[in-house]
Symmetry: D2
Subunit: 291 residues, 4 copies
């Protein structure tokens, strides 16, 4: 569900996960009630009723939320301590700060800028960084700063260092909007926030470069796109969202690419929206998505 | 999610709805905990955070459920009394009893029989009643009794009376699997259990008879099917599920009907599954569906 | 299939329709061969093999097409004369000129501008006309002229007259990209070129104003959009394309509108692309679409 | 488009493929005209306008087709000889004979039997062969002979030899409806007719055994099914049709399998229908599908 700005005022999102235990839901809901908040939505999932992992997302409304947050956090720490649960509590009226890394392709980049402007993504966009300059004017027309960091041949460490320096402290997550440089493990460690990628195939099919060409060669009847968290293993990170489009024998690899662009931008936009609204919980190499 | 037989043992489904109030979720979850049960899934929805209607579905696991049910029901009655909520509690290991009414078309009928045999519908099927005989052998091959109640011209009251007598006390809900007789208000009142229909169009388009012919004439590019609860207003009852399929100019009304049959059977099967698992709550002329 | 600029050079599109007759396909294909052209794609459809209407679309490649066109047209006129067929022949390297009429909503408008810039719509856009000014800057950033023609209360004839004067001779078709003024019959007659609209519902459901509100009230489980040619009967013109998106009980009418926007822009873009490539033939109140 | 029995009377399907050459379409259409036949549908495709491969499917209506076939074939042989084209001509009123090989799963098997009974597959089914017996009664209830050929441990040659002997001369193609034995190259050579398989994943993802388990482990958000011609390379043959269904984190591998069954039966049924109607042309490891 799309929530608009006003809807986030005095709303908090609580994520709880850890070992499943009896009474956990009751403990959390009682906590919310005694903190004078009202539950708006509550989703939960246990991957195994007998000793599995438990995941919960609660959105609650609390008048004067900002003032009450420290107290609620204190209560949470005490209440959940005996259960050994991990939790995060976020004020939904404070949008996450999202940096976008892009290359020459504009379809994913513009889609995110445009949805953010429409108020459909609960994020701010402090910067777009590209290793090309062709999208500068478009990006700035949205009132978003554009920075050009050219890629620098085989040794990408200088460019990566520059990007890390720009991101540090300024962003809550990074989106690779068809950014065509492979990021090093060092970069991922240094950047220290989640990085979301869009891969132009239905993973795990067609890992790596040139998926549309591979799709044409294999003669598939559907092409796809996959948005996932970036890990050190290329195209292997936890999948957030996927979708497909129908194709046929008459379409060239270039045609597949053109049609696929529309799947890519839709899939990435949904993944970003869900991440921005704390709807995605990583669990090993999988994701729990409370849509 | 598909649940199989064993998954229902000692599982109960609680539906609560009524005026939204602070603390309601906490009260219900605390009740479940103090009755030594563990929450498996919990869905809730409020149509307006300020004084709207509240809907909750909780599936919980309670060892020795059957023995504990009266006590839990007593607790529920006392706990929810101050909130003026309506509630139902059902033992999920007791499948609902579903009667099917059919005519000559077999696609919806066989789909339900076949899914039930696969263990994908949590129902028993005590009887199929048809105003035609062509499906008798197929129905009986599933071990399901088949009864022929011919329609009787303009005055359908005798046939309806006979059907009501057969259903009375034997079924928890009725499915019209392309049953081509319009049921009277008296029938609906007398039968006293929910009646689910499949209409062969994307309602509210093409209400009434001959929707595929109308769809061809209007030149639509998608055809659809709608499953809904039957009310006294033809094709106007609360919608449970809908879906569509792509068609094109080259298809005749007969072609649309052939393609539509596959949408109809899928839509009806999903609606029946959701109803059987207490996932559908009627609210005015709408439904809340906790998929 | 997406065709790119170069693909259109020396390509012509021939549309033939009229009463179905034996030998028609052979006559047309022989004509193409004797004019030293090679058939690239050929689609045909007859709505009734016995005396029905026949529709054919042939794309052929003819080196030095521009020089050869008059001769081919002469041959066509002579060849098809005994068959009483209607035909049009267009040089595909000459894009159709498309005017866009818009109001405050930008999603359909920007989608068309952006797809045209990507080379995915075989059109030029000589002007955007809006009764509001909010999209002026965005439109002009695509290098497209923007004209503001305010709507003028109950009597729209002055505004319509102004628009007709601007369009006259300058455009081959007009697209209403969520243009929120109802056009008069006089306008349609005066403008003299096809007008394509996007309606924000799955027609014929929810004709007229406020379809998302109506959809919410009826409790549908899918929302849709419909692109159609505009005729004097509101929302009744021949449908070019439709699509739907899944929604649920938790979404407000505003949420439906937000989600629907993505269906609208996709449906309108496909309809415009097909029209621009002469893939749509009107036949009574229906369309033949050779995708 | 679904064609029904009567629609096939006096209809022939001509498939032509080989090196693309100017005048080919005109030559074929002129041939049809001079043989007093009328073109019903014509599809063609060239994989490269400059010296590529050409594929054409023409359905034509010729009164007294059976009597005229030898003459038309003679004309075809002479007409196409200078073009070095391959061609096949089939009388559509003679359904292809399809054998089904199955194991314990019944969903694909019953779907094919049921669609054939409805007249939606232009095939006869001379036999079902299974290495299990559980479906015998269901199969025979459709009036189709059921043969049990048990699999025989590591050495499958005896079972394969028996199956080949049963099929020889009796069938035009074979469908593996979730047949869980891997067929040897010798079998494929000996059987000498096309073999169509349904694989329970979106190929090329999850090749080999246990695709739903692999899909669960990878955390994909869509599952799929693929129908393809069987070649000696497992799961690598030319793809005829694919489709997907949405899944989520809450579904176990067993749930994926249950949902996937509905994708499998739909995908296989479409592939079989298209093959039965000569809509699929193999070209290297790809297929041209004239839907």
């Amino acid at each position: 569900m799309t929530l608009h700005d006003a809807a986030y005022r005095d709303h908090a999102c609580l994520i709880v996960h850890g070992p499943d235990q009896a009474g956990l839901v009751a403990a959390v809901t009682a906590l919310i009630t005694r903190n004078k908040a009202n539950i708006v939505t509550l989703d939960q999932y246990s991957d195994n009723p007998e000793g599995g992992a438990f995941f919960q997302r609660v959105v609650f409304h609390r008048p004067e939320l900002a003032a009450a947050l420290p107290e609620i956090e204190h209560d949470l720490a005490q209440t959940l301590e005996p259960y050994s649960m991990q939790w995060t509590l976020s004020d939904m009226s404070v949008p996450k700060r999202m940096a976008i890394l892009a290359s020459t392709s504009d379809h994913c980049l513009l889609e995110l800028l445009w949805r953010q402007r429409r108020g459909e993504l609960n994020v701010t966009i402090p910067m777009v960084i590209s290793n090309h300059t062709n999208t500068a004017e478009d990006v700035r027309s949205f009132g978003v700063p554009f920075f050009h960091v050219p890629s620098q041949g085989a040794d990408k460490s200088a460019a990566e260092t520059e990007i890390v320096r720009m991101l540090a402290g300024n962003v809550d997550f990074v989106v690779l909007a068809r950014y065509m440089q492979i990021l090093s493990d060092d970069f991922l460690t240094a950047v220290g926030v989640p990085v979301i990628n869009i891969h132009h195939s239905f993973l795990p099919a067609f890992v790596g470069a040139g998926p549309y060409k591979k799709a044409k060669e294999r003669g598939v009847k559907l092409i796809g796109a996959t948005s996932h968290y970036v890990t050190k293993d290329l195209d292997e990170g936890p999948i957030i969202e996927q979708d497909v489009a129908r194709v046929d024998h008459s379409m060239s690899a270039v045609d597949l690419q053109a049609r696929g662009a529309y799947v890519e931008r839709a899939v990435l936009a949904r993944a970003v929206q869900w991440h921005a609204e704390d709807r995605v919980i990583r669990h090993g190499n999988q994701t729990i998505v409370f849509e």
